[in-house]
C-alpha cells in the first residue's frame, strides 16, 4: 500500500510542473466557492488537501481542539511559496484559519461570507463581486464575458466527467482509490483529469458521508475491503459535481451565487431537514449495504448532525458506522476491522 499511495504534496508538485508554480494558485477550502472566478482571471484553483501527520507549523497559531482540516490547511499553506487563499466563512475554525493566514500572508487572503440559504443569494452575489474585485486587483488582469464563459466550461467539463465516473463507480467499474483521485482532480486544476482505469467489481455497496476524506490510504483500504462506493456526501464530492451555473450574457455573478447556494446543502447550512431527506433518499435509492460516516474531529456543524442522522438511519434499518476523522492519526487496521464488522452485521439483518 505504501508504494502506491503518493502524498498530496507529491501530487500537487507533479501538477506544478504541468501548470506553473504555486504563485499562480488559488488555494480554496469550501465547495460553495465558485471556481469559475479564479479560473477566469488565470489562476489555478487548488482545493487544499489535508495531510496525515503532525502539524508543527500550524500549531503555533491554532490549538489542538480546532478542526484538524483547518490545522492541516494552515500547515500546508505555510509550506507553500506563494499563492492566494480563498476561503468561505464556513465556521469558527475557518475564521481563525483566515486570521492566521492573513498574519503570515498579508493581503493574500479572501474570506467570503457564505449565507446559509439560497434565499440570500443576492447578498452572496455581492460577496462574489468582492471576490472578483480582489482577484482582479491582485492579479492585475482583466475579465470579460469570453473568459468567464470559458472558465464556466472548464469547471463544467470536469464535473461532467466526474459524473460519468460516479455512474461507473456505482456499477462497480471504478475502484475506490481511482474514484478518489478523480474526485480530487476535479477540484485541483493543477492536475489533469486522468482517464479512469477499469476496476474490480466491489461487492459491498457503501455510501461515504463526511466533511472531507483526504487520506488516499483510507480509499485504498476501501479497495482492499472490496467496497463499491455508490455515493458520497463529502464537502467536495458528488454535491459539488451537481453545480452547473447557467448564464450567457446576463449577470453571471448572480447566476453563480444562486447556483452554488442551491446545491444540496452541507451540515453548516440552514435546511437540515431538506439535507437529511435528500441523504436518506440517495442512500435508499442506491441500495447500500452500509453508510460510513467520517466527521472531521471538532467539526461542530457535522457533529450536531449525528444524533438526527443516527436516528434516521436506524429507523430505515441502514447499517452505519461513525469514524472520527483526525488527520493527526491514521488507524487503518482499526478502520478496516470496524467496516468489516458493520458489513457483517448488515448481512445478518
Amino acid at each position: 500500500m505504501a508504494q502506491r499511495t503518493r502524498t498530496n504534496s507529491e501530487m500537487r508538485n507533479e501538477g506544478d510542473k504541468k501548470e506553473g508554480s504555486s504563485v499562480n494558485k488559488a488555494f480554496w477550502n469550501c465547495s460553495y466557492l465558485p471556481l469559475e472566478l479564479p479560473l477566469a482571471v488565470g489562476l489555478i484553483p487548488v482545493r487544499m488537501m489535508a495531510q496525515n501527520g503532525p502539524t508543527p507549523l500550524a500549531d503555533r497559531f491554532l490549538p489542538a481542539n480546532l478542526c484538524s482540516y483547518a490545522r492541516s490547511f494552515l500547515e500546508e499553506s505555510l509550506k507553500e511559496e506563494g499563492g492566494l487563499f480563498l476561503l468561505c466563512d464556513c465556521c469558527d475554525a475557518v475564521r481563525r484559519l483566515a486570521d492566521a493566514l492573513e498574519y503570515e500572508f498579508p493581503g493574500k487572503v479572501m474570506l467570503l461570507y457564505l449565507p446559509r440559504s439560497p434565499e440570500y443569494f443576492k447578498f452572496f452575489r455581492e460577496e462574489l463581486k468582492r471576490l472578483q474585485d480582489f482577484l482582479l486587483q491582485i492579479t492585475a488582469r482583466d475579465l470579460d464575458q469570453e473568459k468567464i464563459l470559458e472558465a464556466k466550461e472548464r469547471v463544467a467539463s470536469r464535473r461532467r466527467y466526474f459524473q460519468e465516473i460516479r455512474a461507473l463507480a456505482r456499477e462497480g467499474l471504478i475502484r475506490p482509490l481511482d474514484y478518489f483521485q478523480i474526485l480530487k482532480a476535479m477540484n485541483d486544476f493543477s492536475q489533469n483529469m486522468e482517464p479512469a482505469k477499469a476496476g474490480s467489481q466491489g461487492k459491498a455497496r457503501v455510501f461515504v458521508l463526511g466533511n472531507n476524506l483526504d487520506d488516499p490510504a483510507v480509499w485504498e483500504a476501501f479497495e482492499e475491503l472490496d467496497l463499491r462506493i455508490v455515493g458520497d456526501d463529502l464537502c467536495y464530492g458528488e454535491k459539488q459535481a451537481e453545480i452547473f451555473p447557467e448564464f450567457q450574457g446576463e449577470d453571471y455573478l448572480e447566476a453563480l451565487a444562486l447556483s452554488y447556494l442551491s446545491r444540496p446543502p452541507c451540515p453548516r447550512m440552514r435546511n437540515l431537514k431538506e439535507r437529511l431527506d435528500d441523504l436518506l433518499n440517495k442512500i435508499q435509492a442506491r441500495r447500500v449495504n452500509g453508510v460510513i460516516i467520517f466527521p472531521t474531529k471538532y467539526c461542530d456543524s457535522f457533529f450536531y448532525d449525528l444524533p438526527l442522522l443516527r436516528t434516521s438511519l436506524k429507523e430505515k434499518n441502514v447499517p452505519f458506522l461513525i469514524l472520527e476523522q483526525d488527520y493527526s492519526q491514521r488507524p487503518l487496521e482499526q478502520l478496516k476491522t470496524r467496516i468489516e464488522v458493520m458489513l457483517e452485521k448488515g448481512e445478518h439483518r
Binding site: 503555533r60 497559531f61 491554532l62 490549538p63 481542539n65 480546532l66 478542526c67 466563512d89 465556521c91 469558527d92 475554525a93 475564521r95 481563525r96 483566515a98 486570521d99 492566521a100 492573513e102 498574519y103 474570506l111 461570507y113 449565507p115 446559509r116 440570500y120 447578498f123 455581492e126 451540515p267 453548516r268 440552514r270 437540515l272 474531529k297 471538532y298 461542530d300 456543524s301 457533529f303 450536531y304 448532525d305 449525528l306 444524533p307 438526527l308 443516527r310
Partner: protein, 393 residues
C-alpha cells in the same frame, strides 16, 4: 423527551406561591431569575429560547419571555448538578467535543427540565455551534427556529442584511402570536436598555480604580444577566443594585488582570485562590460589551448596531484592538485567556491574541479548562500555571 416529576414541580403554580415569601430581602437578580422562571414554566407569556447574544429587546418588545439556554446552563453548573445532564446528552450522541454549555442545554431538554418554548431565536454570532444547537433544540420541541445570520465585517451591506433579517423575524413573530409591536413599546424597551447601558458605564469606571473594588468573579457571573435583561425594566435596576453593593476595598491589591472569555461556573477554588494572592480581575471582555445608544425610530437597525458592537465578530484584529484598549483603561498588568474546551471561536484565536499582547509587553496566560463541565477541571495543574504566571508579573 421526558416529562418527569421535576418538570411537574417547575410547572406548578403552588411551588412559586410557596417560594414567593422567601424572596423578600433577596437580591434583585434572584428576584428577576425567579420571575423569569415562574413566567416561563407557568407559560404566562410566550417563551422564546434565546442565544446569548440575541438582542433581547426584540423579545421584550414582543411581550415574550427570553429563556437564555446558555445562561441557564451556567446556572445549573453553578448549582453543582451539571454532570448528569451532560452525560444524558453524550448518551444521545452529542459529542463530548461540543461546547458544554450546549451539551448541558440538550441534556436539560432531554431530561424534561426546560419549559415548552413557543419559538427559538438565535444569532450566528459569535459561535457556529450555537446555530446547530438551537436548531436541534427547536427540533426537539417542534417549534420554529428563527436564525439571524451575522456576517463578520460589519460593513453597511452587512448591517442592512442583519437589520432586514431582524425585521422579517419580528414580522413573522408578530404574525405567529397575533400581536404587533407599537412604537411606544419600542420606546419603552429601548429606553430600559439605554438606562442599563448608562449604569454599566458606572461599573466600568469603578473597575478602572486602584484598587479595583469590583469583584471579577461577580462581573463574570453577571454576564448572563447583562445579556438577558437588556430591554427589561429589571435591566437598569439590576445593574444599579450591583453597583450599590460594591464596597470600598481595604485589602491589598497585588496584581491586576484582565480576563478573556468566561469563567468556570461550577464550584471551583480558582477565585478564592486569586483573592488570596491579591489578584484583582479588573474586567472581562464579555461583561465589557458596550453598545451605542439605541434609537426607537429605527429599532431593527439600532439593534443591529448593538449586535455589531460585539468585538468578537470579524477578524481577530478587532478583538485584539479592543482588548488592548480595555487593558490600558483598566490598568491591567496581564491577561488571562480562559480557554473553554469546546469553544472554537475564542480558543481558536488564543495564540494570535497572545502573540499580539506579547508584542505590547503584556504577559498572557492561556488557561485550558471548561466553563460548565467540572470533569474537565485539573485544579492542581491550573494552580501551578497561575502561580507561575503571577511570578512573571
Amino acid at each position: 423527551m421526558k416529562d418527569g416529576s421535576a418538570l411537574k414541580l417547575l410547572r406548578s403554580s403552588w411551588v412559586y406561591s410557596f417560594l414567593h415569601p422567601f424572596l423578600k430581602g433577596q437580591s434583585p437578580s434572584v428576584q428577576f431569575a425567579f420571575g423569569l422562571a415562574r413566567d416561563a414554566y407557568l407559560k404566562r407569556k410566550p417563551v422564546a429560547f434565546t442565544s446569548l447574544f440575541f438582542p433581547t429587546e426584540l423579545v421584550y418588545a414582543l411581550g415574550m419571555i427570553p429563556f437564555p439556554l446558555e445562561v441557564i446552563a451556567g446556572i445549573v453548573s453553578s448549582l453543582g448538578v451539571a454532570v448528569p445532564f451532560l452525560r444524558k446528552a453524550e448518551e444521545e450522541w452529542y459529542s463530548q467535543d461540543l461546547c458544554s454549555f450546549h451539551r448541558l442545554g440538550i441534556g436539560l431538554a432531554l431530561q424534561g427540565y426546560l419549559p415548552q418554548p413557543d419559538a427559538v431565536l438565535s444569532l450566528t454570532s459569535l459561535c457556529d455551534g450555537s446555530h446547530r444547537f438551537f436548531y436541534n433544540v427547536s427540533h426537539l420541541f417542534k417549534v420554529p427556529h428563527f436564525l439571524i445570520e451575522v456576517p463578520g465585517l460589519g460593513r453597511e451591506q452587512d448591517r442592512e442584511y442583519v437589520s432586514g433579517q431582524l425585521k422579517r423575524t419580528r414580522m413573522e413573530l408578530e404574525a405567529l402570536f397575533g400581536r404587533r409591536i407599537q412604537q411606544s413599546q419600542w420606546e419603552e424597551v429601548l429606553g430600559y436598555s439605554n438606562s442599563m447601558r448608562a449604569e454599566l458605564f458606572k461599573i466600568y469606571a469603578l473597575q478602572s480604580q486602584t484598587p479595583c473594588p469590583v469583584s471579577g468573579e461577580a462581573a463574570l457571573g453577571n454576564v448572563g444577566l447583562i445579556y438577558t435583561c437588556a430591554g427589561s425594566k429589571w435591566g437598569p435596576e439590576l445593574i444599579s443594585a450591583w453597583r450599590e453593593s460594591i464596597e470600598r476595598r481595604e485589602d491589598a491589591e497585588n496584581y491586576r488582570l484582565f480576563w478573556l472569555h468566561l469563567r468556570p461556573y461550577y464550584p471551583a477554588p480558582i477565585f478564592a485562590f486569586l483573592k488570596e494572592r491579591g489578584v484583582s480581575i479588573v474586567g472581562d471582555e464579555l461583561s465589557s460589551y458596550i453598545w451605542p445608544e439605541l434609537n426607537p425610530v429605527n429599532p431593527e437597525f439600532s439593534l443591529t448596531t448593538k449586535i455589531y458592537a460585539n468585538f468578537g465578530l470579524g477578524p481577530i484584529q478587532n478583538r485584539i484592538n479592543n482588548i488592548l484598549r480595555l487593558v490600558r483603561e483598566r490598568k491591567a498588568q496581564g491577561v488571562v485567556i480562559f480557554s473553554h474546551r469546546g469553544c472554537r471561536q475564542s480558543t481558536g484565536g488564543a495564540f494570535l491574541l497572545k502573540e499580539a499582547l506579547k508584542k505590547q509587553g503584556i504577559p498572557c496566560l492561556i488557561l485550558d479548562g471548561d466553563c460548565v463541565d467540572p470533569r474537565e477541571l485539573n485544579w492542581e495543574q491550573m494552580r501551578t500555571r497561575i502561580e507561575g504566571f503571577l511570578e512573571i508579573l
